[in-house]
């Protein structure tokens, strides 16, 4: 029986649930002599620094202390892209509230905060520009004064795509449906905020950065380039990381400053970000606006789609993916799993005086899926059709399919997941229940969302974005140790996903060992091969693929050695239950015996086989699509605008599930974040650019009380785009949930003629829509209903 497909309990968890996991704050606490940093941050969103005064003798670093150090800047090689450079510390201009201006170092964090209070930064505040639409006005202040913006004021990317016959499609349409979608600013909110400890060793001249991060090698390269030091002098270690969701992917200014200061002071400095800093100035996410027009036939067929997308990317870019990832992904993937031949899109990135944006679980997909799914439901209502039927009419059913932008879509189960969801929620029964409830003045609703999640894409896909730094492949170095157990060194950098357990299952199948006999080493640039880390639902597909390839190579070596000693053909050797045996016989060698031999009696190896049992493999696939259908059932309280989620159903197709429990965990977490995005989380700034949601009193992640049971059903569609058969599943939950929830709310409020196109759909927003729809509503219902 194979290990793949079993819900093994995660090897990572016993340490985590017993408090034995070591996060960067633990590492810093246990490091004798570590000093602590705090950042002095800009209180205003825009201004010029006149002067910075620090108490005499204090360890305070400003931009001036770091002369000779470069800026953080990643580029896309496209004519419609304006690269933005981020200084490590603000030098003359400040461009968002919370921007780091100075770094102070003291004996403890509390003392560092005391010291930070004594640093006096004199800033001449200037008028900020906060709203993306306002920023493009020629009279709006330029966020990056002096930088040439040929595409318009503060416009840093303006990408377009159009097929030839869009206008004809709109002329032929029976109904043109226009909607505007707004996804407000959010924060990915990992439970552990960011944090790092830079330790400079004057003996070796090397600096080790222990950091909460999801791309350790990329971080090392960035540090080397920015600080102008050889990469071999740097080591990046990621201990346990308490969630990341994209927020720990991009290179933070704070980490660069920390390494620079540690090298200047010849010491160890830790910075453990607190929640207020995290909400204010880590990385923000989302903040997209879409205007869509869909051309539909009377029967609900989507004939053409015209879209205008604006992403407010904040004050700076991010490294390595740049701000371009937001608008370009939206442009490329908007049509989703719906057959479409005529498509026109303009997608812009606009810089403003807000915190910069970084990718967040799903990147643009939660919003583009929301936009498409709201368009489908709105069209259905306009045409008097069932939304499920409009989906049936338009979903892709023949594969491979090519999106209008040329993106190939491999086999998936878009219709099957929809039909399964319709059954799971008992749509007919629900509609009856909905009508009965309506008679009592209650508003129940159901919403579906069908989507594809592009996952596991390697270098070719990233190259299409013209990235100067093009991520993609993963390498795995595998070694069977003399004692017969296995060490796998991977470039991926899991941070809570349970990847080590899943990779062990793959290797156990290839090598005939127990999963427990596999140790997965990751998150240390001195110990792991160069790789791109863990993001973009890629690790099981790409690192998993490389692991399988490496496992096959090691298996071949073991078989060859066994065959040599057992005088058999390698083809007849089976690796099972810790032994290499000749098929159909009881003749065999235990794997530890082979391992000893390979390491300690290498003179007995066959022919010119090299000593030891180390192999390596790299995998760089083109990418695949997993897919799912989400269905939400809600009740809206018309008097308060509160939404109660009654049910949340997910029909997911992630291809081969190496560990179904882990897949389900990813879906649960993703859906929870999707619900958070849909109903709760919003970063709010006032008209002067002050963040009003600066603590968890005001930025509201849902708790277990607000999240219903998430009911998951699995479908598996085989793909040959991934050698393990696995498709990525890390982001799907977050991608599909907002659309399902907002569709359900809109369904509930359909009797009032309300379509909900703004997320989060907060009670006050919904109540306002209800009050506009029913002017003299409705506490009477509450009074009567009691």
């Amino acid at each position: 029986m194979s290990w793949t497909g079993r819900s093994l309990r995660r090897f990572e968890d016993p340490a985590l649930v017993r408090g034995l996991g070591r996060f960067v704050a633990d590492v810093a606490d246990n490091h004798t002599g570590a000093r602590h940093a705090a950042f002095v941050r800009s209180p205003v969103p825009a201004g010029r620094i006149r002067s910075i005064e620090a108490p005499a003798g204090a360890s305070v670093f400003t931009a001036a202390s770091f002369s000779g150090i470069g800026t953080i800047c990643a580029r896309l090689d496209r004519p419609d892209f304006v690269p933005l450079e981020t200084p490590v510390l603000a030098s003359d201009a400040v461009r968002h509230q919370g921007e780091p201006v100075a770094l102070v170092v003291a004996g403890s964090r509390a003392e560092a905060e005391d010291l930070a209070e004594q640093v006096i930064v004199d800033i001449e505040a200037t008028r900020p520009v906060l709203d993306a639409a306002a920023a493009t006005d020629p009279d709006a202040p330029a966020v990056h004064r002096g930088l040439d913006m040929p595409m318009g004021n503060n416009v840093v990317l303006d990408a377009r795509f159009a097929t030839d016959e869009l206008e004809a499609a709109f002329e032929a349409a029976d109904e043109i449906v226009e909607i505007e979608i707004r996804a407000h600013r959010q924060n990915a909110l990992p439970i552990e905020a960011r944090g790092a400890m830079a330790a400079h060793d004057p003996g070796t001249g090397r600096t080790t950065l222990t950091a909460a991060n999801q791309m350790p090698h990329m971080l090392r390269t960035a540090l080397a380039d920015i600080l102008n030091v050889p990469e071999a002098e740097l080591r990046v270690v990621t201990p346990e990381v308490g969630g990341a969701f994209g927020q720990k992917m991009c290179v933070p200014r704070e980490y660069v400053a920390l390494v620079a200061a540690a090298r200047l002071l010849n010491t160890t400095i830790a910075w453990i970000e607190d929640r207020s800093e995290n909400l204010l100035a880590s990385w923000h996410s989302r903040d997209h606006s879409y205007r869509l027009a869909g051309a539909f036939s009377r029967g609900g067929a989507l004939l053409g789609l015209d879209a205008d997308i604006v992403c407010n990317i904040g004050a700076y870019s991010n490294y390595p993916v740049t701000f371009g990832v937001e608008p370009l992904m939206a442009l490329a993937e908007l049509p989703g799993p719906y057959r479409l031949s005529q498509y026109r899109v303009r997608s812009r990135a606009v810089t403003t005086n807000l915190c910069p944006i970084a990718p967040y679980r799903g990147v643009s997909r939660p919003v583009l899926t929301l936009a498409m799914e709201r368009l489908i439901d709105t069209a259905a209502r306009r045409l008097g059709l069932d939304p499920v039927r409009v989906r049936r009419t338009n979903l892709v059913t023949e594969f491979p399919y090519s999106m209008p932008t040329g993106l190939p879509v491999d086999p998936g189960s878009y219709s099957e997941t929809l039909e399964t969801a319709v059954e799971a929620v008992d749509l007919e029964g629900f509609r009856r229940r909905q009508q009965q409830a309506a008679a009592q003045g209650r508003y129940l609703g159901i919403g579906f969302s069908v989507f594809g999640e592009r996952t596991g894409y390697g270098t070719p896909a990233f190259a299409a974005r013209a990235m100067e730094i093009t991520p993609g492949y993963e390498t795995v170095r595998l070694e069977m140790n003399p004692s017969g157990d296995v060490t796998a060194r991977i470039g991926a950098s899991p941070h809570g996903q349970g990847l080590a357990t899943a990779l062990s299952q793959l290797l156990a199948d290839e090598l005939g060992v127990e999963p427990r006999q596999v140790a997965v080493v990751h998150g240390d640039t001195d110990a792991a091969p160069y790789g791109w880390g863990t993001f973009a639902s890629r690790s099981m597909v790409i690192a998993g693929g490389a692991t399988k390839l490496a496992g096959q190579r090691l298996a071949a070596r073991l078989k060859e050695i066994a065959a040599h000693h057992l005088e058999a053909s390698p083809d007849d050797i089976r690796l099972e239950q810790g032994s290499a045996t000749v098929a159909g016989t009881s003749i065999g060698m235990a794997l530890p015996e082979i391992a000893r031999l390979a390491h300690h009696s290498s003179h007995r190896l066959p022919g010119d086989m090299e000593p030891g049992l180390a192999v390596s493999a790299t995998y760089d696939p083109a990418g695949t699509f997993s897919n799912a259908c989400h269905a939400a059932v809600v009740e809206v309280d018309p008097d308060t605008g509160a939404v109660c989620l009654e049910r949340f159903v997910v029909i997911a197709d992630a291809g081969v599930e190496v560990n179904p429990m882990i897949v389900e965990g990813q879906i649960h977490g993703g859906v929870t974040q999707g619900i958070a995005n849909a109903l709760y989380e919003e970063l709010v700034v006032d008209g002067d650019g002050n963040l009003l949601t600066a603590s968890l009193m005001d930025f509201l992640p849902p708790t277990a009380c607000e999240i219903p049971d998430i009911e998951v059903t699995h479908i598996q569609t085989v793909t040959d785009a991934s050698i393990t058969g696995a498709k990525g599943v890390g982001e799907g939950g977050a991608i599909g949930a907002p659309a399902a929830v907002l569709n359900a709310i809109s369904d509930a409020l359909a009797p009032l003629g309300i379509e909900v196109n703004e997320m989060p759909a907060t009670p006050s927003r919904l109540r306002e829509l209800i009050r506009q729809a029913v002017p003299a509503s409705t506490a009477e219902t509450a009074a009567a209903g009691g």
Partner: protein, 286 residues
Amino acid sequence: MKPAAFDYRAPRTLEEALGLLREHQDEAKVLAGGQSLVPAMNFRLARPAVLVDIARVPGLDRIDLDDPGSVTVGARVRHLDLEHNTIPGPLGVLLARTGRWVGHYPIRVRGTFGGSLAHADPAAEWCALACALDAEIHCRSANGARVVEACDFFEQMAFTTCLAPDELLMGVRLPSLGDSWGVGMAEFARRWGDFAIVLAIAAVERDGDSVARARIALGGVAGGPVRAAHAEAALSGRAATPESVAAAAAAAAEEVDPTGDIHGSADYRRDLVRTMVTRALNQALA
């Protein structure tokens, strides 16, 4: 988010505690459950030089049921103790119903009744309850004791009371509501455990089919808890019908003057007042 430096004192007697407060005046802060003060210190919004922890001061954690007409709740009684209804009659029901809405379980384990009143969050459940029931607040300093009516205790500025810096809140005397009273509580918050956007507390004395007296207090609509006097008047002496409840709720929405914040505009809060008062009254009259 680390507090500025402070001294910590843990007096073992009331005299010692009052002495420390007199000595340090504005520089000192009483530490009770720490569920409001400690976060404020971590944000450096509060920077007391001396913390006077009253955890060891005897006698402050009692619920006194000896007087038949009232119940006195000691300042250090935990939220959770009141939620676990140990007090007989409608007052006990109201305290239990209200207590469930104060923060999350771990906060209710540590946070105290007196701390909530002294902290005077405009959306605090206990403040509204004290105001609804015209509680007597017992205060004491090294110079002596005084009793303040709840509605005078809270200033109309958020987080402000009439407590002097050297005064300790000792306990709160609440009228034990007789069996003719019905009680109700309704709150709207974004998530379980959040501070209310709007909350309403109602206690209604029945006289057959009509309402003899109604007490209605609101949280989240002003700098402190407020009594909905017009709503009370609209109901008192009237038949207990859906129409009179609706009239009272409309009066309450009319008489408040809330300000908006990120969780709800002034209009939204006013609108919620009507719904919450309706729900609290329906519960009280059920």
